[in-house]
């Protein structure tokens, strides 16, 4: 029998990265629910996960499905007549709110490609398996997304 780590370790090691991915794909408001659903589903399936599986890729796959569910649920909800943009999309952190905000405005595929490749370190073939299309298309979507972020957020240059 191969030892499988206590699930607490999975949360401790990957919780932050998965929340960043959820925030990137869904924005700060929806991210918490997606994170919770992801880890609850993961907890349920964990005993059956092969011991040598890539846990972070597995979690991101679940998070991707939960994010799709959230987007579909949001589409089914009647759109609010009085939109409150200030409250609807609060900055996720004090430090870099504009960049997070710019990310939420990217087209979905670019956003997902950036999140899964740059935040979750999935190879482009795995990104493509999640978002559809070829690995090359995923690479282009991620590159376009990063280029677009740099255009809308050029003042980040002097950081290093």
């Amino acid at each position: 029998m191969t030892a499988k780590q206590p699930f607490e370790r999975v949360v401790a090691v990957h919780g932050g990265a998965v929340l960043r991915v959820c925030r990137a794909v869904l924005g700060a408001v929806e991210a918490d629910d997606a994170w919770s659903e992801t880890f609850l589903a993961a907890l349920q399936a964990y005993p059956d996960l092969p011991a040598d599986a890539n846990v972070e890729a597995w979690l991101v796959t679940i998070a991707h499905r939960k994010a799709l569910d959230a987007v579909r649920a949001a589409a089914r909800r009647p759109s609010p007549t009085e939109a409150l943009p200030e409250q609807a999309s609060p900055p996720v952190t004090e430090t870099e709110p504009q960049l997070a905000d710019a990310l939420t405005r990217l087209p979905p595929k670019q956003k997902q490609a950036v999140a899964y490749h740059y935040l979750a370190q999935l190879p482009y073939a795995d990104v493509a398996a999640l978002i559809g299309g070829s690995a090359d298309a995923a690479r282009r979507a991620a590159a376009d997304g990063i280029a677009s972020l740099r255009r809308t957020y050029p003042q980040q240059g002097p950081h290093r």
Partner: protein, 204 residues
């Protein structure tokens, strides 16, 4: 394009959760896991005169208490291997036992009233441990006496082994088992811990 790297690095920072935000989500997860019957093993740590103790419980009851000297990560790994990998830090389930342990360590409690899950002590070891609960607060019994009570008077060594591998020390009072010649005998929490507990019970 020398700055290709900096947007992803800034992005990670921009989306980084604070420890508080992650803790809130962790609490939500453990509550939902409990509600859905997925919290197979809940654990927490607590301060005590014996150092930091780890306490773990299944849905049936307290299943493990580990001393500071035991490697808590290794203990949790063993629980994952032997019971279920659905192990989470979830203090709510341990609230009652932690309160009772606290009272015990302060001399305000003589018996524990919590459900115990005996699954980690099978066979003769389990039989021995069940008999230990007959030794009352402030009393001691020799390894030979305990062996006799189990119906196996020759099994003195096996009683020692059962005590040394007790998954529920303090709660199942293996510290009350001493040598026939008056010596204290060993203790998995260390001889000092055993002396502390016997002194505490003698004083109260």
């Amino acid at each position: 394009m020398s700055d290709t790297k900096h947007v992803p690095a800034d992005l990670v920072r921009a989306l980084d959760p604070t420890p508080d935000q992650l803790e809130v989500l962790h609490q939500r997860l453990t509550a939902a896991a409990q509600d859905d019957g997925l919290l197979d093993v809940a654990y927490r740590t607590m301060d005590s005169p014996l150092g930091t103790l780890l306490v773990a419980a299944t849905e049936l009851g307290v299943v493990r208490l580990a001393f500071a000297g035991e490697d808590h990560d290794a203990v949790l790994q063993t629980l994952a291997d032997r019971i279920s990998p659905r192990v989470l830090r979830a203090p709510a389930r341990l609230e009652v036992v932690v309160q009772q342990l606290d009272e015990y360590f302060h001399g305000r409690r003589r018996e524990f009233e919590v459900a115990l899950d005996w699954r980690l002590s099978a066979g003769f070891r389990g039989t021995v441990l069940h008999h230990l609960t007959e030794i009352g607060y402030g009393h001691t019994a020799s390894y030979a006496t305990v062996a006799r009570r189990t119906g196996n008077p020759k099994a003195v060594r096996a009683v020692g082994t059962a005590c040394a591998t007790n998954p529920l020390p303090v709660l199942v009072p293996c510290h009350r088992v001493v040598r026939s010649d008056g010596g204290m005998g060993g203790y998995l929490g260390g001889v000092d811990a055993k002396r502390t507990l016997l002194t505490l019970e003698a004083a109260a």
